[in-house]
């Protein structure tokens, strides 16, 4: 009988995913250099990173399929390396590669998966039907998987990951190939999962997509998780806002906005019909909106031009992937003290 995995020192048993200093190479290629992250139970955590940043490799390690070269992983306190069976009972994994048994129907696919998780036959078939309803494949329940479209296969893959009612859900690019309705369904499903106290980790590079569903975000650049302080700093940088005035050409509007805000015209940009203005913070943006309205301008649109995730992502990357892990800044011991005493 698998006994509870002994806790590594420094990592308390806690629900959710805890990853510390994980590294993995394939031959000469260092796919994951140094990943440290926490995905909390009851929250949806986004895993954001460019292509080739190691997201899939990391998820394979979390899914107990790949052993890390170094570092530790805990899935609800279970180490998937030493006790993969226990970890597999806890986690549901939806891979980015669509693998379906082409000769089997959707219903059979789910029933077989349930049986592989040890469910009795009758229970497995009930579970399969319930999941088909949940992901909207009831009409295609008896069609062989080979006739499913990419999005339908994706939904089948999601249902397969949910078969054993996992406590932790790992999703690798779940939204690719989904139509808008299916994306909304997926978002609702993930929110419901989190509300039930489960842990959800979603990787994607469709940031607008993630933005709508995640509570937390972890940024992965060239195999390294970006230090939360750096993420925080990046998210504080000036971000562009989109301003549109009713009935005014952008060339005219840009003069009016510059005048109302008392800033030089050169510092503003124009994008199609909109004026682009940078603000340091949301407070600054709110103040500017007051000024524009106070100046009698007919503002019909005033919105952040980029999602927070997208802007942070672009700021972090700065167009070039970091070649080496960022120097881990040792916490300056004096800093906190001085703050406390001042």
């Amino acid at each position: 009988m698998p006994s509870p995995a002994p806790q590594a020192p420094g990592i308390p048993a806690e629900p959710g995913i805890v990853v510390q200093g994980v590294r993995r190479a394939f031959g000469e290629v260092q796919a994951v250099r140094n990943v440290t992250l926490r995905a909390h139970a009851g929250r949806v955590t986004g895993l954001v990173g460019p292509n080739g940043s190691g997201k899939t490799t990391l998820l394979l390690m979390l899914a107990s399929l790949l052993a890390p070269d170094a570092g530790s992983i805990r899935i609800d306190g279970v180490d998937p390396v030493t006790d993969p069976q226990a970890a597999r009972a806890l986690l549901g994994w939806m891979p980015d590669a669509l693998g379906a048994w082409n000769a089997l129907t959707s219903r059979e696919t789910l029933a077989v998966t349930a049986r592989l998780y040890g469910m009795p036959r009758a229970e497995a078939s009930v579970r399969a039907d319930a999941l088909l309803g949940e992901v909207g494949l009831v009409d295609l329940a008896d069609a062989p998987a080979r006739v499913l479209s990419r999005g339908q296969k994706q939904r089948l893959g999601l249902a397969r990951a949910l078969v054993h009612d996992p406590r932790v859900l790992l999703l690798d690019e779940p939204a690719s190939g989904l139509d808008p309705q299916a994306r909304i369904d997926l978002r609702l499903l993930l929110r419901r999962f989190a509300a039930e106290g489960r842990t959800v980790l979603v990787s994607s590079h469709i940031l607008s997509e993630l933005e709508e569903v995640v509570d937390d975000a972890v940024f992965l650049m060239a195999g390294v998780t970006v230090d939360p302080a750096r993420v925080e700093a990046a998210s504080r940088r000036a971000r562009p806002w989109r301003v549109r005035l009713a009935g005014a050409e952008a060339s005219v509007a840009v003069e009016q906005v510059a005048g109302a805000l008392r800033i030089p015209v050169e510092s503003l940009g124009v994008d199609r019909r909109d004026v682009m203005v940078s603000f340091e913070s949301e407070d600054a943006a709110a103040g500017a909106l007051r000024d524009l309205v106070g100046a009698g301008l007919d503002v019909v649109e005033f919105a952040a031009a980029q999602g927070a995730l997208e802007r942070t992502f672009l700021d972090l990357g700065d167009g070039r992937p970091p070649q080496a892990p960022p120097p881990s800044e040792p916490p300056a011991p004096g800093e906190d003290e001085s703050e406390a005493t001042s």
Partner: protein
Amino acid sequence: MSGQRLGTIVGLELTQRTRSIAWYVLLGVFAVLLAIVTGLSFLAWGSAYRPGGAIYSTIVYITLLLVVLVSPTLSGNAINGDRDAATLAPVQVTLASTLEILIGKFLAAWVTGLAFVAVSVPFLVLATLGGGGAPATITVSLLVLVFEVGIISAIGVALSGILSRPLFSVATTYLVVAALVVGTLIAFALVGMTMRSEVTSHFRSIEYDQYTGDGYPCLPGETPSDENPCDDDIEVRCGEWETSTHEVPRFDQVWWLLAANPFVILADATPTQYDEYGNPNDLFGQIKFGVRAAQQPPELEQRWDDCTPGSQGDQRTPAEVVDQSTPSWFVGMTLQLLLAAGLMWWAWARTRTPAGRLPAGTRIA
């Protein structure tokens, strides 16, 4: 190891196979080939005395040959084919262990191969009715057939777990099977002929030149008669002993190379029926006699003496040779089992998750 998960994996594999039309076409082609072979065997052996054994053994051998040719394609891409189709990882991430996946795929490949044996059963019944094979022969030969299908399935599944490319692993399975079927024969012949021993033969003959005139002497043991009017009074004069040397291949030292050959195992394990002269009356028996005869060491000191009666060499019947030699089928089966189990273990180490070191070019999912 859970019976339920194992059963699910076997069921999954079999469902996928039986839903492809190609599979039924293959079985149909197989049946047609066997029908042709059965018809030809009846024509070929029909005039023989009690042809049942000969026809039966021919059909079993053809079945083994076809199964050996088909099995690698049924099992040689079990693991890496699934990995290519991205259907392996979703199974590995369930509670099914690597061992269950391997054993399940092996059992499924075995059952699939046995479907071909099942197709041959009507023809075997026909052969049995057409001339009668002994029950022991039928039972044992079928058991060996089932065993061989299992061995080839295990080798195929294991190689598909060891090598990452399906095409490559199917080809390698064929090479391993060819090594067992043809390679053992080649090795037996070549190594046997390389290991030579010198035979010294001593001989002397009667000096017929000494006799002139009408009479000739009676040889030792002969008495004069009408048919053989030799002259008992003339003394037989023997020549001098002469000695010559030549080399003979030592097949008796390499006979075990043949032991791992599936066709030899089938022949060697099956009880043989002999006719009244001690000659085997089916193909199995003839091959068994050939293998057992190869076990006999050559006499390195030979004496040929015309002057002493009854000095001629080995006059044993095939039945006697077989009875006085060592059966090799269990040696062969053991070798094949070790090979299959070793490859299976290697495949297990390669397919195990969480995966440690991966061979270049392998992907997990």
